[in-house]
């Protein structure tokens, strides 16, 4: 019974968004107005091209960097991993300005790339997603039981054999999920694509936004959304085909020592991967810090914004974790699609539908906060599912057998067996969803803020009022908040390991 709560909630949330909109469209002109013309086709092709390119680069670099980080110990490694939590909290425009500060016409390394066009779009997407991929793959790899590495060392596996027999079986469970997540993020990317690509570089999401906002052509927006939903489902289902569940039989207890990667070539490769990922992530963050450091003014507004951001972040993360806990244990490909609901159905469509459904309620501050939490929680859900799923797969069936032999079930099993085992993944997923929930402004711009000003909203307000240098200060504080949380999560992790 309990396990159907999450699917019911998600299906309910999506229906609550779509049904009122269909109703509205039907009573205001209908659904027929989809011009599937040359422009839509070009939009589709461009969406696929930039998203595929961004995703491939992010996943390859992220995978290599994660593997290198998982098997090397060096000074500053945890600092680096914490910094990698920063990019995906940044509002798109802050990331664009950070990348511009490095590679733009006036940037430190200006002239290397022409960032206005496909190169710039891919560059910003890679800046967002390399650290995301790295952290998610790293989480997967550090979950492998140390016995495996000891055994591999005793059998004197080469690095390639170790990868094939130990790392790959685990990675291939998360790879399709991470690939499709990053692909969806890039395909739905909006501000980045428009700011750097201009009108010729339009994506499907832009077309939906345009239809919904500028023309207020709800029928067209719905038709485009359906097109996007179908495309995404094809993608998710086909990557789901690659899913071959092979839970490892030995649950890990400790993060153990690794014995591989001693060869000079392996060292060089790892060094290069870590260097590359760092070179992608650090300079734009440095540019953001540099731009903001002299403009950070702590005042009441800023403190209130930090408070609201923490509230939204914690709320959305808790929601995403609860839903993900259920979904990650379901063995259906369906659960994978359900988790992606809020990435596949454009958030603007969801929020508009919710508003229509709930419009007789008073949209005061508490309602707005709950709506924003629900929307952000749903948007961050697939990331939480991907992280938790990898860990659940590791737990495997051995626990099930053991528990049924010992007659441990229900609350006892949850609290004494599942919870301690899942804690590292929960922590990682919690941080990830928390940080991701900070950046979205869809619900607020559609429903009205009523004084709900989060850090990203403050940045937008400041930039909209000529105060771009103060916005740089706020962006710095946002980056620092995320970094601080990542450090905190790692500290808690260490304490757990020692226990």
């Amino acid at each position: 019974m309990l396990k159907w709560t999450a699917p019911t909630f998600i299906v309910g949330a999506v229906l609550l968004g779509l049904v009122p909109l269909v109703w509205f469209a039907a009573s205001h002109g209908g659904l027929q107005d989809l011009r599937f013309d040359a422009i839509v086709l070009r939009v589709l092709l461009f969406t696929l091209k930039q998203a595929l390119l961004s995703t491939l680069i992010s996943v390859v670099i992220g995978l290599l960097a994660a593997r290198a980080l998982a098997r090397r110990r060096f000074y500053g490694k945890s600092l680096l991993l914490s910094l990698f939590a920063v990019p995906f909290a940044l509002p798109a425009i802050v990331a664009v300005l950070g990348v511009t500060g490095v590679y733009g016409n006036q940037g430190w390394l200006g002239g290397i790339f022409n960032i206005y066009g496909l190169t710039g779009i891919v560059l910003v997407h890679v800046f967002f997603n390399v650290p995301l991929a790295t952290r998610m793959f790293h989480e997967t790899l550090t979950g492998i039981a140390p016995e495996n590495f000891r055994l591999a060392a005793q059998l004197s596996f080469s690095d390639r054999e170790l990868f094939r027999h130990v790392e790959w079986p685990v990675l291939k469970n998360t790879l399709p999920a991470i690939f499709s997540l990053i692909f969806l993020l890039c395909a739905a990317s909006f501000v980045v694509v428009l700011t750097l690509g201009g009108p010729s570089a339009t994506t499907l999401e832009v077309a939906i936004y345009h239809a919904l906002r500028i023309d207020f052509d709800v029928g067209r927006a719905l038709a485009l959304s359906i097109l996007q939903i179908i495309l995404c489902l094809i993608l998710v289902m086909s990557s789901g085909q690659l899913f071959l569940q092979s839970p490892s039989q030995i649950p890990p207890q400790l993060t153990g020592q690794r014995f591989d990667g001693g060869a000079v070539l392996a060292r060089a490769l790892d060094g290069a991967a870590i260097f590359l990922a760092t070179a992608i992530v650090l300079p734009p963050i440095a540019a953001i810090l540099f731009a903001g450091v002299t403009h950070l003014k702590i005042d009441g507004t800023l403190i209130a914004a930090v408070g609201f951001s923490l509230m939204i972040g914690i709320g959305a993360a808790l929601l995403a974790l609860c839903l993900a806990w259920c979904l990650a244990q379901m063995k259906l490909a369906l659960s994978q699609s359900l988790a992606l609901a809020a990435l596949i159905v454009p958030p603007a469509v969801l929020a508009t539908g919710w508003f229509l459904a709930l419009k007789s309620f008073d949209f005061g501050l508490p309602t707005i906060i709950l709506t924003v939490i629900a929307l952000n929680g749903l948007m961050a859900l697939p990331f939480a599912v991907a992280v938790l799923r990898a860990r659940f797969d590791l737990m495997g069936r051995s626990f099930d057998r053991l528990c049924s032999q010992l007659g441990i079930a229900g609350w006892n099993r949850f609290w004494r067996i599942d919870m301690p085992f899942m804690l590292p993944a929960l922590r990682q997923a919690g941080l990830l969803t928390f940080v991701m929930s900070l950046g979205d402004l869809t619900a607020v711009t559609l429903l009205g803020s009523q004084g709900l000003v989060t850090l990203p909203a403050l940045i937008h307000q400041q930039m909209g009022n000529y105060r771009s240098s103060e916005a740089a200060g706020t962006a710095l504080l946002l980056a620092f908040t995320c970094y601080g949380l990542a450090v905190l999560a790692q500290r808690i992790g260490k304490r757990d390991d020692q226990n």
Partner: protein, 331 residues
């Protein structure tokens, strides 16, 4: 007994209304009520005159405000809607929600005068190409010079689909070039560094120094002088004239606070409201002000000629013109 209870229940709302203050709900755009916007001071000033409460409902921008009205229809909670511009007033009128403002339109000081009986202006601004005079000592003197000028000197524009200034530039091009607008767009295309989704993104890139020109307002340089003491940003005066944006407000006909709403619109053209506009909304006041404008406003470009399509013309052609623009610039 039951009867008495019903009578009592029927009386309750009246007694409650007599005890509580009236509340005027005003829909507006986000930056109007932000910390730097005029919202808070205007609320305080109006509440002094009316013994009522003003409740702002802030949505993303003018278009978001209009969309909210379309979604709510007759159930809207708004009494007053503030922050639409003349490019969307015709669409707003078509919702059938707005009533006559009942204020003498001649009190509104906007270029070209004012006759609209449903919408009343609260500020206006001419669009302009703003440039960095340190990087570009000689700015273009006309739209034609901008279109045909050196393509290595770039300009940052906004997308007319998602941004009010973006639509303003599109209309400016259309009013100068007419049927030849698509050829002019093609000629201009190599000069466009990028077309940002909104003014914030475009202006952010501009102040980062990515391009020497950006599309903004005549009043933009005043901000840099007043708030930052920076004088290098200037607006270029174009010989064909400048396209105008007029921001307006209107009242909801079916609102229970109709009289109060009318009072607010009357107040809107008074000095207590208008004094706040120049240095918080960075636009020109549309009514009398009782304090002098900061000196920086005297140095601003004063367009000799104003370009403006009527709301009906914009409403009828916007989609076709945007399609034309999209085809011209994406080749």
């Amino acid at each position: 007994m039951k009867k008495y209870l019903i009578c009592l229940a029927a009386l309750l709302p009246f007694s409650a209304a007599a005890a509580a203050k009236e509340t005027l709900t005003i829909y507006t755009y986000e930056s109007f009520t932000s910390e730097w916007g005029p919202g808070a001071k205007i609320k305080a000033a109006f509440e002094k005159t009316c013994d009522c409460d003003v409740a702002w409902v802030a949505l993303g921008d003018g278009v978001a405000v209009l969309n909210r009205l379309k979604l709510e229809g007759k159930d809207t909670k708004a009494d007053v809607v503030l922050g639409l511009d003349t490019n969307i007033t015709d669409e707003a009128r078509a919702t059938g929600l707005f009533g006559k403002h009942g204020v003498d339109g001649s009190r509104a000081k906007v270029p070209g005068g004012w006759t609209d009986e449903e919408f009343l202006p609260f500020d206006y601004g001419h669009f302009a190409v703003v440039y960095d005079s340190e990087k570009m000592p000689v700015p273009p003197k006309s739209l034609d010079e901008l279109v045909n000028g050196d393509p290595t000197q770039k300009i940052i524009l906004e997308d007319p689909r998602s941004s009010t200034p973006g639509l303003g530039f599109l209309l400016w091009m259309k009013s100068v070039y007419g049927d030849k607008a698509d050829a002019a767009w093609k000629k201009l295309a190599p000069r466009i560094l990028t077309t940002a989704p909104g003014w914030s993104e475009a202006y952010g890139l501009f102040t980062k120094g990515e391009a020497p020109m950006v599309f903004s307002y005549v009043t933009s340089p005043a901000y840099h002088v007043v708030a930052e003491n920076v004088t290098k940003y200037k607006a270029a005066e174009f010989s064909e004239g400048h396209y105008l944006q007029v921001e307006v407000a209107g009242l909801i006909e079916a609102s229970p606070e109709h009289a109060l709403a009318q009072k607010f619109l009357d107040f809107m053209l008074s000095a207590d409201f208008q004094n706040e506009i120049p240095t918080t909304n960075w636009m020109m006041p549309a009514g009398e002000i009782s304090v002098a404008l900061p000196p920086a406003f005297n140095d601003l470009v004063k367009p000799a000629k104003t370009l403006l399509y009527t709301p009906a013309e914009v409403n009828a052609n916007r989609r076709a013109w945007i399609d034309e623009w999209q085809k011209a610039v994406s080749e």
